[in-house]
Subunit: 431 residues, 2 copies
């Protein structure tokens, strides 16, 4: 071999152009088409768009050779190499992705519910048919966190992940923090700006974040976890007064998704939590997402960016299309379905913030303290802001570290006390 | 094909174990050996350690079959598959990496100088010999930013990168910010804690960050750039008083490495800069690193974590070893050496902060304003803190956006004025 080898450019070995179909021409599907049309890449060619009632979706800027169809068979029976699934939801997405994989087509999905619930089965099917199932867009939109966890941190042992995975909740909570508006006002704003859907229940009750956390746990912690086994607390529990108390504690409030694995037991939850105002989680404003991975060797690594929106999500889809086009296999993205089950729990032990609303009379704090002490829970501090009515008086206690389930039971017991005007609300304090 | 394909587990196709040699048993090399020994991975086996005077490096915890050698030929002539280059510096690293690649061995390097200066040539050599050259550890240590830029954001068009790439400078500046200590005191502290070397010149003058920025630019912006063509301003220009003025402007000071490419002209620099206290850059404390990529479609995406240190850097090395072991080729990591040259400049147009130290007398500000106006530069505000001696009086002006080179010339002209006690110092203000 010569010591001065002849130069060869990478473009000499560039793969052939692959044909791409988009299933679902909503925000994400349309954005994928836009980027493929306006920033064309020689490796990818958009050839098919599938949508129900497709005529109303046609756009003038797409290549005139693109076939617009409302028959899924036009996609499944074609010579398409790569299918973008941007339909959302479990059905019919599951059925169509399965059929595409069985036909040997590779699939890029932005669908968190599909991947969280059926991803392992579909990925194994892809493996068996020699195709690929990639889903970088299913968690944190445009932030390439799954790839970074799976490959960039492959040399570490990830022991925990935490993050802000739902942009709608984060928009609402950061608006409440900044402007002191109520949850309802912030939600209406989010809907006006297009950050929340008409029915925001899947966002605010934690289902959306739980699906993403289930995917993150499988990729990062290499443990099987279904979204249904993640305990979620709705962010509707958060009142604007909680931000005032949180501020006194050097904190703000975020919807935090987190999981830890100690090698035997998996802890996971999605819930509003107090986080220090200087922390990375607290800095995340508006509809941004963040994921923090904790490695045994590398410490904390954070990934932050646009967690939703058509173009950022489309970037993730196209990055996956390019990976699939060059035959790159993300081996082991999800844990095998027959992997050893682990014990699962939401019972993190942390300090807690508890807000009571009471009809005031002497002795209430003593009664609460005595009841909590009976459950082995110790009060750290009592905070009470002046200026509220004695008949509906909010105050806050902070607790030394205790298990979440022990606290829930203790608060259930206290809920029968005659002085409580509303059920007490508790959030973990994450340091 | 059956619709219920037979299950095959990924482990059935796991690649064979590859033999790994470590060149250089300093902090990083030793950490790689530790992780391979204490968290063994069936795909990688440490078989050789090379170091000068190797006997003083031997450790009891490594596998007893490891060959410890001070003869590089023992590595180059062996059956090793993967070589970790953890020597640092250009020579002899360049010669040995080149020889290893010519022998068909793949090389994982943590060496920013080698990659920034000779990476393109070596990567082409690897391409021609069918081996691989991976260097995820060369920028931002344990933060997998190169992989994320190259593959995770492959679907976007990155138009700018900025970041904090030197942990030593960041430790010094964040200490000055928090405690008001002088540069010298903060540097001595950094040396005591092992965050700065005995000779910190490469860190404080910007050479270290410039090498990393040159790599980032090639990977993210796909433009050729050598470290020598990046203008660097030493952080020694920063005085503790600058943090007081910066705070009044809602900012702090960081050593910022940044580059922008508009398709024709490339802008790049490494310099101290004022950044808003709420920005991601300002939140980076101690010896952490951050990289923010700006995409045409995906907006800003940030990557934050441990930029240095043995274990985090070793995680990046081992992640690359695993990628090389499964034959993963990072096509196009660096731009081809014969890619079209672009015009390169450090002449960003931004608002600026300028600190003068003068022997006070009436009319100085008018003279400065008049001189700057003659260069087409407009003053935005004048700030002066009380309590300083009239014979060595510091004050600050902020400027409306102007080109960096125009400002440098204007300040050069002003430096001859009799009232100046010290040369004026200027930093860009990044919003």
């Amino acid at each position: 071999m010569s010591t001065q080898p002849k130069l060869k450019l990478v473009r000499d070995v560039a793969p052939l152009t692959q044909n791409v179909a988009i299933l679902g021409f909503g925000t994400v599907g349309r954005s994928v088409a836009e980027i493929l049309s306006y920033s064309p890449d020689s490796r990818l060619r958009l050839t098919h768009v599938f949508n129900r009632d497709v005529d109303r979706k046609r756009v003038s800027w797409a290549d005139e050779d693109v076939l617009w169809t409302e028959k899924i068979e036009d996609i499944l029976d074609s010579d398409i190499d790569l299918v973008v699934e941007a339909i959302g939801g479990l059905e019919p997405a599951y059925d169509w992705v399965r059929k595409a994989l069985l036909k040997g087509k590779s699939v890029v999905s932005a669908n968190k519910q599909l991947i969280a619930h059926r991803g392992r089965e579909l990925q194994r099917l892809a493996f068996d048919t020699g195709s690929q199932l990639l889903f970088g867009a299913s968690v944190a939109g445009g932030v390439p966190v799954l790839l970074a966890l799976q490959e960039g941190l492959a040399g570490d042992r990830i022991v925990g992940v935490s993050g802000i995975l739902n942009g709608t909740c984060n928009y609402i909570l950061s608006r409440m923090e900044q402007s002191g508006v109520s949850f309802e006002v912030a939600l209406t704003e989010a809907q006006q700006y297009g950050y929340a859907e008409g029915d925001p229940s899947g966002d605010v009750n934690g289902d959306d974040a739980a699906a993403k956390l289930a995917i993150l746990v499988q990729v990062a912690l290499k443990v099987g976890l279904t979204p249904n086994s993640i305990r979620s607390t709705p962010v509707t529990d958060v009142d604007s007064i909680d931000f005032l108390y949180a501020r006194d504690l050097g904190c703000t409030i975020r919807q935090v998704s987190r999981a830890q694995f100690d090698g035997r037991k998996l802890f996971s939850s999605v819930e509003p939590a107090l986080v220090p105002r200087q922390s990375a989680l607290a800095q995340v404003q508006g509809n941004q997402n963040i994921v923090v991975a904790s490695g045994k060797y590398g410490g904390n690594t954070a990934f932050l960016g646009s967690g939703a929106g058509g173009h950022p999500t489309a970037v993730a889809v196209i990055s996956d299309l390019l990976a699939a086009a060059r035959g790159h296999t993300h081996q082991g993205w999800l844990v095998p379905g027959d992997s050893k089950p682990v014990r699962s729990s939401s019972d993190f032990t942390t300090p807690h913030y508890v807000r009571f609303v009471v009809k005031d009379r002497p002795g209430i704090i003593a009664e609460i303290a005595s009841s909590l002490t009976a459950s082995g829970i110790n009060i750290d501090a009592v905070l009470q802001k002046p200026g509220y009515s004695k008949t509906e008086l909010p105050f806050v206690i902070t607790l030394e570290p205790c298990g979440a389930s022990v606290l829930r039971e203790a608060l259930d017991d206290l809920s029968r006390a005659e002085f409580q005007v509303k059920a007490a609300v508790s959030f973990p304090i994450l340091r």
